[in-house]
Every structure is written in structure tokens, then in C-alpha cells.
Symmetry: C2
Subunit: 508 residues, 2 copies
């Protein structure tokens, strides 16, 4: 499909240049093109036709990268699964997306089996032998470009408690990747480290930009500062995409090597603004790096707002915007709107709306939520914010009931549904509390049924396997009642303030 064109171009303009840098060897672009065509041939034999949904469940690796591109080479629709989901969540997604095939690596084989068998989707665990077999497939021609065809369905936590499938077209990806190519100055001499999970759109989109620019890919299965330094040294990484806490971890690592940090030309981060203190350390630690902040969401195929390198300064005329998420990326338009969708002037807080070519087709098989999210032709982010006089966006609040912890979006309703399933729970609510390591942590407030007894440990045990570990509350408290609005809804803002106050009191 359309992004496959980028692979074919890379093979034409940089045939012997590195496409994938692996521990054992480097694969050039022309060789990689051939490998993908053969894997695609085997996938075709397994029934992958244009439009077939193929789920993937794997840690970052060159093999995973090849599988993703081979599915597109066949014209298939990717359903990249978060490896931290619980088996029940994956089972739901496989059914909802009507997935025909699940490709898992050996690390994820257990989870994939628990989720996919028995089930209608065929599970293929791609161990070394299977990878070799896939590479023996008959090379097939790539599907013809079709920009409006669906390229992928990325599932995100849902405000209703069920994951929603964000349906993205090849046009969405081609635009988003083109933006990354431009803003990160990706090109033939770039080496990008896939440090964040590839099933996340942030990494996925940058990776496509790297491919469009015929650059090289390097992979980290799991983030550790030591492995970042190893990849910097062995693979010559030039481009890093990390959340601020990871950047800090790299700078704080005992194995810190300033010579390696100096080879980094571009750093991007997201999920949270950078503090002046951390920025100072980053500017000092990475003396050659241009620094970009991205803000966006799966529904707009990645980033729609960016804070450019020239704004990542601590003084001078360009300083003073570090608390902003940034300005609209070229090709996007931003609006702050009141609840009726009417535009608000600079300075006024409202919901952040956006539009542009990368905005999703909609939620898969969910016309009602699609209509709500895309009302009036604008994507409704669910985040609250305001624009200043220079068009800089400040995110002040989430209108959606969501917590961002360690770079992952956690929808409170999903966590609350899991907790409420315990027989001793009468009512419950979760809120995000500030956390040095995670940005925010999930905190649960539970009201027990009259006479019932349940401990935090018992609740921990209860949610395990029902929801992903990263969504599980990190702390619990028990209360007699929750603050309710006139119509009986939990007042999250008030609850959160109470929790903060109690936590402050307990520290005093």
C-alpha cells in the first residue's frame, strides 16, 4: 500500500545503505525490500489479502519491523497490540477488529496464546525458525497505492470502559510520516532508535518518517539506559524519541558517556512538558541535539502540535514557551472551543479541537462515537487548554477522564469497571495523582458495601489479569462515600483535591 512506496523508494535511492541495524548484522534497503516481499508472499499464503486485519504482539525488534511492513505489502490492515494489555483486553480487540491472523514474537507467545486460543484468529508465533520460514516465501508484488484505504486500527482505552479502534488510512500515515521527516530532519544519514514501543503511534509514525527518508532503524526491546548507550555506541544512533523521565534516566545513568550523547542530533519527547531544570541538563548533555516536543493523539495519527527546537531555550527572545505544548504543526489547524463547538478567543480555556489530513477516518465499527469525536469536522481531543496570542497551545486539563502514567493513557472508566467487579465494592473512583517517576499514578478510592471487608491487596489481586498491569491502581484508600454532583456523578476534581490534601497532610 501507500507507505510501501517509501520502502521501494529507499531501495532505489539507497540500495546498499543501512535499513535495519541489528546486533548481528546490518540489512541494506534493497535487501530489506526483498525480505519484506518474501514474508508478504508467505503471509498471502496464510490468507492475508487487501483489507485483512492482522494483529501483532511483539517487543521492538527488526523482525517486528519486517512483519509490520510485510502486512502492508500484502495490503493488510495492521492491528498493533499493546504488549502490556491483559489477555481479556486482547481477546476483546481481536474479536472487535475481526482479526484473521495474530503474529506474536516468542516473548509474547504466552499472552498471545491466552488471548487468541481458542478463537477464530490464527496465531502464528514467529520464533527464529518461523522467521526463517517466512523469509522463504515467494516474493509477491506490493499492493497498489490506495490512499483512502484503511492502513491500521490502533486500539486505545475507551471512555466507556471498552477499547476503541482508531481507524487510520494510508493518507493519514503518509501525511503524518511526511511531517516527521520534515520536523526531525530525517534523511539518509539518520539512525533512529525505536526506544518507545512500536505499537504506540508516537514511535510508529517517526519510524515511517525514517523509512520515507531512507534512514536506518535501530531497536530496543525494553527501555534501559544501559541499552540506550549500547545502541548509541554500536548502531550510531542520531535520533531519539523518549518521554522526559526516560531522558532524565539516560542522563543519570552510571554508564553515562558524553561522547556518545554528543552524536545525537535530534531528540523528541512527548506525553508531558519538560521542566526548565531537565531542559538545562538535556541541552548540556546533548550539545548537538535539536529538541522537539510533540503533542497529539492516536486519533490524529500522532503529533498535531510541536514545540520547535528554537523554543527549547532558557533565555533570549525565543524563551518563555516551555510550558506550552507548542504550535500547530504545518498541515494542522487548532481551535479552542466551548461545549457547543464555538471558537474561543486567545486566553480562554476550552476543549482543544484539531483538523488536518492525518485525522482518523473514525472509530472502527462505532458510528456513534465517531460522530461525537468528529462533530462539525473537528477532532475533539477531550483535553482542555488555551492558546496564547502567538498561537501556542497550553494543555490545562483533561475533559476526558484519563490519566497519563509513564507515557500511557489510562481511561479511568476501564480501571473503575475492573474494581467494581469485586463483590465487596459498592462504589469506586480512580484519579491521577502527581508522581515523580510516572508523571501521574493511578490512585483508587473505594467505598465498601455495608459489612463487607476487602483489603487493598485483595483488590490488587482482583484487577490482575482483568486489566493491564500499568492501568492497575498504584495506591488505594477507603472512604465512606464519594463526592457526588447533583445528578449523582462522581465529582472527580473535588475527589482529586481531597486525595491531594490527605496525601499532603500525611506527609506534614
Amino acid at each position: 500500500m501507500s507507505l510501501i512506496l517509501a520502502v521501494r523508494r529507499a531501495a532505489q535511492v539507497r540500495p546498499r545503505g543501512a535499513a535495519v541495524i541489528d546486533a548481528e548484522r546490518t540489512i541494506g534497503w534493497r535487501e530489506l525490500e526483498g525480505r519484506i516481499a518474501r514474508i508478504a508472499g508467505r503471509l498471502r499464503e496464510l490468507g492475508v489479502e487487501p483489507g485483512t486485519r492482522v494483529a501483532t504482539l511483539a517487543l521492538n525488534s527488526p523482525m517486528y519491523f519486517e512483519l509490520l511492513l510485510a502486512v502492508w505489502w500484502c495490503g493488510g490492515v495492521l492491528v498493533p497490540l499493546n504488549t502490556r494489555l491483559a489477555a481479556d483486553e486482547i481477546r476483546y480487540i481481536l474479536g472487535h477488529a475481526e482479526t484473521s491472523l495474530v503474529l506474536a514474537d516468542t516473548d509474547m507467545a504466552g499472552l498471545a496464546e491466552a488471548a487468541a486460543t481458542p478463537g477464530p484468529a490464527q496465531l502464528v508465533v514467529v520464533d527464529e525458525a518461523m522467521h526463517r520460514d517466512l523469509l522463504q516465501g515467494p516474493a509477491i508484488d506490493a499492493a497498489a497505492p490506495d490512499y483512502e484505504a484503511t492502513a491500521a486500527i490502533f486500539y486505545t482505552g475507551g471512555t466507556t470502559g471498552l477499547p476503541k479502534g482508531v481507524e487510520l488510512s494510508h493518507r493519514n500515515f503518509a501525511f503524518a510520516a511526511s511531517g516527521m521527516l520534515r520536523d526531525l530532519r530525517l534523511g539518509p544519514s539518520s539512525v533512529y532508535l525505536h526506544a518507545a514501543p512500536m505499537f504506540h503511534l508516537a514511535d510508529f509514525g517517526i519510524g515511517l518518517g525514517v523509512t520515507m527518508g531512507a534512514g536506518a532503524h535501530s531497536f530496543l526491546a525494553r527501555f534501559t539506559p544501559e541499552d540506550v548507550y549500547r545502541r548509541l555506541r554500536d548502531d550510531g544512533v542520531t535520533h531519539l524519541n523518549l518521554v522526559p523521565t526516560m531522558l532524565a534516566a539516560v542522563l543519570d545513568a552510571p554508564c553515562r558517556d558524553d561522547r556518545l550523547l554528543a552524536q545525537v542530533t535530534h531528540i523528541s519527547y512527548g506525553a508531558a512538558p519538560i521542566t526548565p531544570a531537565l531542559l538545562e541538563r538535556v541541552l548540556q548533555g546533548f550539545p548537538r541535539a535539536a529538541i522537539n516536543q510533540f503533542y497529539g493523539m492516536t486519533e490524529c495519527c500522532g503529533a498535531s502540535v510541536f514545540l520547535a527546537p528554537e523554543r527549547h531555550v532558557l533565555d533570549g527572545p525565543m524563551a518563555g514557551k516551555l510550558k506550552a505544548a507548542g504550535q500547530a504543526i504545518p498541515g494542522f489547524e487548532l481551535r479552542i472551543a466551548d461545549p457547543e463547538g464555538r471558537p474561543l478567543p486567545a486566553g480562554a480555556v476550552g476543549e482543544i479541537l484539531m483538523r488536518g489530513a492525518p485525522v482518523m477516518k473514525g472509530y472502527w465499527k462505532d458510528p456513534a462515537q465517531t460522530e461525537a469525536a468528529l462533530a462539525g469536522g473537528w477532532l475533539h481531543s477531550g483535553d482542555g487548554g488555551y492558546l496564547d496570542e502567538d498561537g501556542f497551545l497550553y494543555v490545562v486539563d483533561r475533559i476526558k477522564d484519563m490519566i497519563v502514567s509513564g507515557g500511557e493513557n489510562i481511561y479511568c472508566s476501564e480501571v473503575e469497571s475492573a474494581l467494581a467487579g469485586h463483590p465487596a465494592v459498592q462504589a469506586c473512583a480512580v484519579v491521577g495523582l502527581p508522581d515523580d517517576k510516572w508523571g501521574e499514578r493511578v490512585h483508587a478510592v473505594v467505598v465498601r458495601k455495608a459489612g463487607a471487608r476487602v483489603s487493598a491487596d485483595e483488590l490488587r489481586e482482583h484487577v490482575r489479569g482483568r486489566i493491564a498491569g500499568y492501568k492497575a491502581p498504584k495506591s488505594y484508600e477507603f472512604a465512606d462515600a464519594l463526592p457526588l454532583s447533583a445528578v449523582g456523578k462522581v465529582q472527580k476534581k473535588a475527589l482529586r483535591e481531597q486525595c491531594l490534601q490527605r496525601s499532603k497532610d500525611s506527609h506534614d
Copy 2:
């Protein structure tokens, strides 16, 4: 429509920054947005609805720029007319495109009147008073983005003798503009000089990239080296797009000012490769400029191939590619194919095919030519060429019977049809001969009817008004017969060689 989003973004992120630099004053992006919304309101009153075709006939100016954007603000379809066409050609296009409205400036009022009246399309000559009136229109909301909607129909000379309407979508333009933004490093501090005509896609596409990047526009009604220096001085121009002969004229000008040349950061050129001798002078004359060559066609919304700045060197490891048109631009895929469309290996000459998101929807109201041009999902350029082992494209020949003179494409069949209309002409053929000033010049070979008499001057008079002046043969010769193939087609290659030989002989 979709590119209007770029205007709205520019007004948001750079409200007071220069959008248009005019002799008299500078218009900021927020002010320009308001002007366009009001002009659009007046155009709406004149009947411009989404889908309405609006032809424009004007020299480069800020006013022209506003009109183009105002038509898109209404959702209208642009039909930008070449100001050098003859009235009959324009009349044909207005009818074929079913144009409702023609907007002309005062310079073009005479030609517009000759072409449009009487006729079904309403002609509005936008003189100063009319411009003021348009600016009094009621501001209207911009049409919602629709990426697959038709944005413009650009007419090009046709191989059949009639102009063809290249139908381009907002998606085509958004991609093409995004590529220009990236490759020319356009941004808020860029000042682009519209030196080539804005009705040409080369300039039009770069202009959209400037708008996407919230840069500034400066305008040249007609190219003269003196005016280029004036704009450099008064407007602070940083980006130039010129054909090689114009670059040479700027460097050769008596008013040459090296200080002004040094402020240029980016130069792009097209239509012909640059000679090492000229490149040496350009590198010396413009010490800070990154130099790009673009190759493409209207049918792919501008450039699909580029020779990057690092290749514009005379020695070192990156040198040696100056005769190439360049490599595929990210987002495009190139192929060299045999007459059956099968891919040919590196080094083999065949037709240049291309595909990618900016490729046209098709030829307006011409399904047969559309199918031929887009056979197998590839745009057939009609140019012959080959790729080297590094994916560099070399254009060696035109498969279409076309001459490029002074940056304009001239289809021989159009010129031959005009000549053949003279009662004394029995047969005729035109070929392109090398020309120092124009690259190629149109040369006509005419066979007179038995007993008939006609001179070159009479033929010159005959074609005037029937075809644009730039298409008219610059030289004539009379012959007893034309070299014909077995099936009776003129053998252009043999004829051209004969003409070259005769011209050489006459110089010896």
C-alpha cells in the same frame, strides 16, 4: 478547502508576521486571513460555491495571490490560465472547464475580454476599484476540508493538439506543498520571490509550501534581473526559484550586488539541468544558498524528482550527478518501463513512470487520455530516461512530441495544427533545435502545396493569434518532402537531425 487550513494556521502561529510584502506595505498573516475571508464573501455573492470553476488571468501580484486563496476559501476550483495563451486557446479552455467566472487583472483585461466575451462565463476585471470592492465583501467561513475534492484544473498543451485539463485534488496539493516545505526548508523566516509565473505549477506549489510554513511572499510581475535585485533589497527575499537561464541573467546583470545575493539561502531551478560552468558561478555568487533541482510535471502536481543541495558540488565524493534530474522525492516512486509497462533494470532507457500521493486525479472530462496516462496505476510521463545504480534519474529523450523553450512546454501538434490551417501548406512538422537563450527553439519545416507560394513572414502572421506567441516557430525552412515512416508518420528524429546538419553546414 484543505490548503486554506494553512492560511488559518499561519494566522494563528504568526499573526503579525509578514504574509505578503508589497511595494507599498506589508500585510500580516492575520490581516491577510481577514482580507481573503471578505473577498471570498464577495465571490460567494458572485456565485462561487464549492465546485464552481473560476479561471484566473493575471500577472504575479499580491492581489492575484489573494484571489487564488479566496477562490479556495469558497471551495471553488481554480483554473489558472497561462497569460501567454492566445484568445482562441483561452476560449477553448473556458468552455471545456465550464468556467462560471473569469478573474483578470488590468494587464490581462484585453486578452480576457477577447477570450471571454461573448461567452457564458462572467468576466470580472479586478482593477484597483474592484479590488477595494472585493475587500468590502462580507467575511464568510472557509469551506470545510475535503482532501479528495478537486482543487484546480491546470491546462497544459495536449499531444492531440488540444489543451488537456489536469485535475488536481486538495490532497495532491497538500502533499506537494508539504514536500516543498521540507525540501526548501521553508519556515516563518523565509521570504519567497514569485519570479516565475504563478499560473505554473512550479511556482504555485512552492507558494503553497511558503504558506504552510507561515513564510512571506514577494512578487515579480515580469522577470527582469533589475527587479530581482529590487525585491532582494526591499523585501529581504531568501528563496528563489528560477530556470538556469534566469539564474545566469541575474549573475550577469550590470546591477549585480553581491551583498544582496549573499542573503539568499535557497535556490531551486528546473526545466533543464545546470551546467558545471553555471553551477560554479552560482556557488560563488550565492555563497549561502542551498541549491535544489526539481523535475516533474503538472500531472504530478509539481516535482517528483530532485537533485539535493549536497549533490550541487563540483568535486568530492558527492559530485558527478549534475547531469541527472535527481532521485525520487520522498513520497514518490519512480520506474523506468518498456512500452508494455514492465520495469527495466538500471541503465536501460525506457519511459519514466511515477506514482505517489500528488499524482493527478486525471484529465478533466477525458477518460480515454486519463486511462492512458495512468495505465497500471502509474503516471506515464512521456519522457524517456534511465536510472543509474544509485537511483538517479537521467532524462534522455521525450517520448511525447514536445519542445521545452524558455521553461514552457510546447506540444508540436498544437503548432503544426496552426500551420496546417494555412491554405498554402501541404505538410509541416516542427522540431526543437538547441538555442542558447531558450534551451530549445521551435523550428518549422514546411512543404508547400504544388504551385502555392507562402513565405515565412506570411506563416508568422498566420499563426499569430491562433497560438500563443511563445509557441510560434522562431525559424522556418521549406522542403520538398518530410521523412516519413512506413506507416506514413513523420520521422521527427530523422527530421531533427537533418535540420541540425543543415544548420551546422550553413555555419561552416
